[in-house]
Subunit: 300 residues, 2 copies
Amino acid sequence: MTALTRTGPRIVRTIADVRAAVNEYRAAAGAGATVGLVPTMGYLHEGHASLMRRSASENGLTVLSVFVNPLQFGPNEDFDRYPRDEERDRAVAAEAGADVLFMPSVGEMYPRKPLTSVLVSEVTSRLCGASRPGHFDGVGTVVSKLFNIVGPDRAYFGMKDAQQVAVVTRMAEDLNVPVEIVPCPIVRDPDGLAMSSRNVYLTAEEREQALVLSRTLAQVPGWLADDAGLTSDLLKQRMEQLVRRMPLADIEYAEVLTYPDLLPPGEAPLREAAAKERLLVALAVRFGRTRLIDNILLTP
Amino acid sequence: MTALTRTGPRIVRTIADVRAAVNEYRAAAGAGATVGLVPTMGYLHEGHASLMRRSASENGLTVLSVFVNPLQFGPNEDFDRYPRDEERDRAVAAEAGADVLFMPSVGEMYPRKPLTSVLVSEVTSRLCGASRPGHFDGVGTVVSKLFNIVGPDRAYFGMKDAQQVAVVTRMAEDLNVPVEIVPCPIVRDPDGLAMSSRNVYLTAEEREQALVLSRTLAQVPGWLADDAGLTSDLLKQRMEQLVRRMPLADIEYAEVLTYPDLLPPGEAPLREAAAKERLLVALAVRFGRTRLIDNILLTP
């Protein structure tokens, strides 16, 4: 056995095996046992690694799940071509301190046609929920399954998918799932691009132009500080103007919503709303066939 | 303290308290701990008592929940007048061996408007699902909550609500809920009437005529044995004819479906289907404002 395999995560592919691994840990650790879950679709990058490191620092056992969930992809989306690389995932998971790597097949997760859906309304009606119908139904359902399979004390999600964090948090609260949802900061490349498994789709030219997302969002706090009359509509217009300067950019949405309820902040100048509650400023932009999202959260 | 209060169940009204009671038991009982849950809407009768006794015989701790769940009642149904009697429930629970009696308020279970629903398709499209739209959405959601709150190893449901058993079993399987669903036999009054909290609504005349449900169902095995050509449609007609002899009876459905998938068994003589798989023969009949259901399960 090399040092790497000894310190790397235990790979399990069945629900029974991941449950056995968690039960074994809980039996050994006793009353102080805590289990952290990091649910991912794999093709891991530094963003995922930051979730695992956070979980490893807060829990006795960290379970990483890698599952490209067909339920959360639309018929014309990229399920088939979504990047997968098990060797790379194992290496990233080992480096970041995951203890158990749960990599089920589609047949293991859905042995027959599922008839049960976990649906969250309202917080799913805007942003990605509007442009990807059914997406969050698939997310709510698979995250419910993972919670039931692993039984984590804490689950870690990246804020790049801010709406996903809002949906999962609300789902867990409404259904009394005994788990703490831990939102974690967006991790960016040195030039500012939010890390995403889908960045691998970008051509060099698209990647250069994609910097417009983070650069636009980075300006928002300044605009808000300088312009007492800035409304939600004016902010969206400014963002769209900046993004449109990139010839390859195709805007899906540029939005400002309250967080985590994801409601419009009203017609009044944004400073009033921003003084009272958190505001999510979010962008979704297509470059060719690649859909990128990014956001910042403004906190009073 | 009297003997009764000492041996009676511990009453808890909050989610935190029921979780504490279960955790306390699990910590004390160690590796062999098992928790049984009996979810009810209260106004307990001998049917509920049989579920508690079964749970008490199979688990170290039995939790009885009493909660009239507004989510599973339609706007024109009997939520407001559904019978409630806490003293009686406490006495029945004590006699039947429940250890913890969880009696939350509506505000405890739904502190704000729930946005999350647990929906089960297909098995909810017929029988009570067809006549009570939204009913099983409410059942799926509240049972999911109770499973997450109590974390039982086993949950006990009466077969009078055979479709509910099918829905909850499918939900638990689809979502990988780590619980065993235990279906328990229908308990009947000596004259055959299936026990139901709603029987209290019946007038003496209605109650007499309501015996037609169990008496009709009791004839089905004989009809099937005697008549090789009996089809699903013919069986339904025979049942309807018998029920219609009662002037106060208003038939909602008389059905024959495969169990637990609840699909029509086809046009062929029923004996063929009955030789291959279980068949549920089910009736729903209204007497005045009171809706009664009953069924038998034919097993190959």
